[in-house]
Structure formats: C-alpha cells, structure tokens
Amino acid sequence: MVGAASVIGCLTAVEALIGTGVINRHVVPLPSQVLLAVPRIIIEEDIFDRFLMTAGEAAAAGFLLVAVAIPIGVLLHRTRLVCDAVESWIGAMAAAPLVLIYPLFLVTFGRNAATIIMIGFTAGLAPVILNTLEGLRATRRVLINVGRSFKLSRSQQFWKILLPSALPNIFLGLRLGLVFALINVVGVEFLINFGGLGQLINDLAERYDLPAMYATIGCVILVCVVFFMTLERIERWLRPGR
C-alpha cells in the first residue's frame, strides 16, 4: 500500500512539474498521457506478445544463470586455487559494459533470440557467481562444526548446511543477475531491432510517440516486478524461517 501510494504521489508530482513547465513536456510526457497510451499499445502494438517475448528471453537467461553460474560459485568455493586466480576477473566482469560486444554474439549465434539470451546470461554471470561464493563463505563456522560433530559427509555438509545457509546471498545474486540480464536483453532488442519490448521502444522513439514509449518502458519495469515477486516466493519456500 505504501509503495503504491508513493508511486502515485511521485507521478502526481511529475504531472504538476510538467504541467507548470518546470520539466519540458517534449522530453517527458505527462503521466496521464502515458496512462492513456496503454490501451493503444495493447491494441495496436501487440504488447502482450512482446511482453512475453522479452520476459521469456530474460527468464531463459535466468534459468541459465541458475544452471551455470551457481555451480561455478560452488566450484570456486571448493577449489581455493582456481578461486584465487579468477575471482578478481569475475569482479571486473561485473563492471564491464558487456552489451558493447554484442556484434561478437551476433556473429556467433545469429540475429535471433539466442543472441539476446546469451548476452543477458553473460551480463548476469558475475553477480550470481560472486554472491554464491560469498554466501558459502559466510556460513557460520559453528554450523559447519555442528555438521562435523554429527559426522556429515562432504555432500551432506553441502546440501544440508552450506547451501541452505547461502541461499539468501544466492537469491540476492539472482536478483542482481536478473536485473543485469533484463537490462541487456532489452538493450540488445533495441540495438538489433529484433522483437520484444526493446524493439518496440526503438520503433516508438523513432516515431516520436513519447507517451507510448514510456508506457512500454513501464512494461519493462513490470517484467522486473514479476521476476522479483516470483523469486521472493521461491526464496520463502526454499528458506523458511526468515
């Protein structure tokens, strides 16, 4: 309720600032105009299919992150030598604008959804790996000693103690990774003009249809909200008691 009220409050304030000329209406349209553009993009711009396409690409990148990045984090936790060698490079990767190497992905995967998914996946790798590693490292020593006192095998220690302990950090990494993935998915859709919400934003910008463009950006935010809510539900199910 507080969140919704604050959003409405901000939009009302922006409406007033644009209406009084403080913000240039040729750069930022009135929020009321953006709201009125929503039925138009639904009817004329196939917004649901585009929404599903972008969400599907981001979700595919997300599944790849879970399947690849988390095990990499686990592997780095187990092999100190490899971890010492690559951890700094992975950290550097998190700061690098990977979207700029999209031509390399285009040449490798072609002008299709695979390119978009792989760029999204690559962009999300670093935060998931680093947070998985940090979560495993942060497992309290006393919990590990409880496991040792009950003579847990290495596998049991991992599944029964290390992984549940690290889950909050892993989910933090997944949230960050999905944000990075989604930014890059929409960005590459925009750049290569290939379907989804990114392409629509590009089209609408070229037509100078600002209210519809901002309404489409709102749909991108909606994708993010859906992902976050889903992740939160999954985290609560896997890690009760928080």
Partner: protein, 292 residues
Amino acid sequence: MPASAETRREVEKGSRVNPAAAPVLLVEDLVKRFDTSEGSITAVDHVSFSVAQGELISLIGPSGCGKSTVFNIVGGLVPMSEGRVIVDGEAIAGPHPAIGMVFQEESTFPWRTVLDNVAFPLEIAGMSKSERLERAMRYVKIVGLDGFEKRYPAELSGGMRQRVSIARALAFTPKMLLMDEPFAALDEQTRLLLGDKLLQIQQELKQTILLITHNITEAVQLSDRVLVMSYRPGRIKRVVRIDLPRPRTSAIVSSDAFGRYVAAVWSDLREEASLGMLSEETQQSQPHQGST
C-alpha cells in the same frame, strides 16, 4: 610436564569411579601445541581426567587457559599433539558418535523448525520420517519446548534456542554430552533456570556430561566434580569434589555449603585469572614500550 601425582590421586579419589567400570571418557596426558609466528605455544599441557557414567563434570579456568581447546579435541574437531582420548572404550580419531556437542555460540539451523532441528541427527542417520519426528518430539518435551516445535529459531529467545541445541545433541542418545559454555551468552536468571533444566535432564536420562565453563556458580551448582585449570599452559591444577545433595535445584545457591565450594574454587581460580590478566596487560603494553 605430566599431571602431578597429587592431582592424579585427587582425580581417582574424587571421581566416584568404580575401578571395575570403564569411564565414558578418559583423557590421558593430553598436550596441544599451536605453531604461531612467535614460535610454538603450548595451550594444553599434560591434562588427564576421566568422566564416569552418569557424572557431571565441569572444567573451569580463566580465559585463554585452553578449556575450549580441550573441548575441541575431545569433540574430535581438532587433533591433539600428544596424549590419548578414549571415548566409550575407543581412541578418538575425529568426531565420535558417542559424544553429543553443544557449542557456546548459538547453533540452531535458522531454516529448520525446532522439531526439524532436533530431528537433524536422526535424519542423517537415515531414520524414517515418522520415527525421527516422534523421537525428536520426546526430546523437545524433555527440554520444555513442547508447543514451540513448529516455530523457527528466529521466533525464540536465546535460552530457548540453546535448549533446542541441547535437545538436538541428546536426540542422538550420545554416551556423553560435551558442552562449551552453553549459557555464556545468557543473563544470570536464565542461566540459573537453564541450569535447573540441565540437572533435570541429567537426572531423568542419567546423562554423562562434561561442561566447559568460566562461571564458578554454574560449575558448583551443576557438578559432581570441578576440575580447575591453570592459566596457559593449561593443566589441571586442582579437583574439587562437590558433595552437595542430589537432586539439586538452583535454590542450592543460597546455602552455606554452596558458598564454601564457590570460595574453594575461587581460591585457586583467582591466582590463575590474575596471571591471565597480567599476561594480557603485558602483551598490550609491549607495542607502546617499543615506541618510547
């Protein structure tokens, strides 16, 4: 330096050990050295003691005397440098199933309910779900947490969480419970009441317990014998046999006899605690001496 003959006689005399019955725990000439940048440090120096079936023994000493090192060695978490530790007739080479450990720090699994926490060792042992939950519930009741079995640790107080840890260690029916300052983080009232609870558990289950503590009141309240350790290197300085009547409750703390035992333990501990404080002050002042 081996334990003195006097200490050995006190150990044998005061232990109520039936010479014919093997002790649950036998520690002989235990030595632990640590290699540091300043050379080798002997933390524990030829410590010997035994714990008979059904006894509750406290190991007390000043900070840094090696009590927790003894705890970790007997629990099989840390290797010894010399000596022998025999648990239930077997020399230990790591954690032993006959020992249940309760740690000083809060050690419940936050993602498991109280009942699932207590059932954890039974789950590892491969017991069926219905059987382990039934057995875990028995120990939840023993520690007085019935009604809280579906709660998570975050919903419990510190004392309640420590009771969960005790129940979890007991659920595995260990021959001996090994406890490292389990009530250290709790206030005095809670500590006394949990001491009552521990005595009830010990009496009901005839549980053998080795308790590591720095609290004299707690040691005298709970124990059959109190082993007083010296400051580093840790040795058994004296064994004080506590001949207070059983069953006991925390009401015993107001008795004259209780006060005399506390005084007896403190008379040895005070000297060692002073040595420890002096040593720490010397170490802290050394960097300043270098600069002047």
